[in-house]
Symmetry: C2
């Protein structure tokens, strides 16, 4: 099933929540639950049933009036809409301590994300092995991205180098960037960036601890 959605018609916050829906649905499916109401889904996602119904309405009609959602079917449809039924190749830049931890992170592969090439600006690291890949130099980035059909870049360089590395990824044609560096980068409108930053997450919670 290939469903193509007009991405501009869906609010960004809804897209951000979809992977959580998929998680919760997989959870119910593996517990043997076949049908779920928007109330039950809402309770697990800390949302109201009305929000759930509104979110899902962007992608078509899923529920049956008074009956709820078919867990398996909804999970398959959402996975297809999110592109999670495909394999996605990623390139990682920056093989310091953080980069090596990310390369060895076991959570990517089962979800269809595969780091297929690693790069570093430091000449002394080029040629070394990280996660059974040979560290490449950045001048090879564009060719590797094209040849290996890489759509995702993972940035694990220090903050001061992050914007320049992200510029290089953008020039190489990467359209989605997972940024571990603690800076909000500037990218063209057709490139998506998601930050992974535990300190930012902590800092937005201390507001509530204090106030």
């Amino acid at each position: 099933m290939q469903e193509i959605i007009n991405a501009d018609s869906v609010p960004d916050v809804v897209v951000q929540r979809l992977p959580l829906y998929v998680r919760v649905l997989s959870h119910f499916a593996s517990a043997g639950i076949e049908v779920i109401s928007s109330e039950q889904l809402g309770a697990h996602l800390q949302m109201t049933p009305a929000q759930i119904r509104k979110d899902l309405s962007y992608f078509g009609r899923f529920g049956k009036q008074g009956r709820g959602y078919d867990v398996g079917n909804l999970a398959v449809r959402l996975r297809s809409i999110l592109g999670l039924d495909s394999q996605w190749n990623a390139v990682l830049i920056g093989v310091g301590r953080l980069g090596r931890a990310v390369v060895s992170y076991p959570g990517f592969e089962p979800e269809g994300f595969r780091i297929v090439a690693v790069f570093d600006a430091d000449e002394r690291l080029v040629g070394h092995e990280v996660g059974s890949m040979r560290v490449q130099k950045l001048t090879e980035l564009e060719q590797t991205v094209t040849e290996r059909d890489i759509k995702i870049g993972i940035v694990t360089v220090p903050a001061m180098y992050a914007q320049e590395v992200i510029n290089q990824l953008v020039r190489a044609g990467v359209k989605a960037i997972l940024n571990y560096a603690p800076i909000p980068p500037v990218v063209p409108p057709d490139v998506r960036v998601q930050g992974v930053d535990p300190v930012l997450a902590l800092q937005s919670m201390t507001f509530y601890l204090k106030n």
Copy 2:
């Protein structure tokens, strides 16, 4: 300066953005820039000047008409509002590979976050040293949280144990949880949770790669 804000009066998305403001302002300050316009701030945060002004308006009057914001002053005020001028003690539960990487992450301490105690449900790990702390058993959690004035819990256990561990943190009195487990946990309304999950971040970007 102790500024107490009514947390309910500020939208959650604004609070989420404040740490980014602080980052960008520190960046400008260290570059020797003393005054900044909402246009310049907006360009670095990929927001409109009007959004910037609206966000900051929740916390008082900062800018001078036609002159912009005083970088140093705004940074200090926002840090105070966010509670970043304090030291926050945290407890970590789950000292497997991920937990050990988080304990040794160098980004927390400079920002005022300190992991002061580590726990694991696995009896075989109790008593071992991780990051120069002795791994404690979970029955000691409540006492440790109280005695050491711990407000933040960091969860690095496998998904299947995460909800139970989060329940224990909530019972022990922790009000802010940084959750590395790939589940959206259920917590009481007075407890904040932020997830750190690179797979979720990737999954919301593949939607845009595909559609």
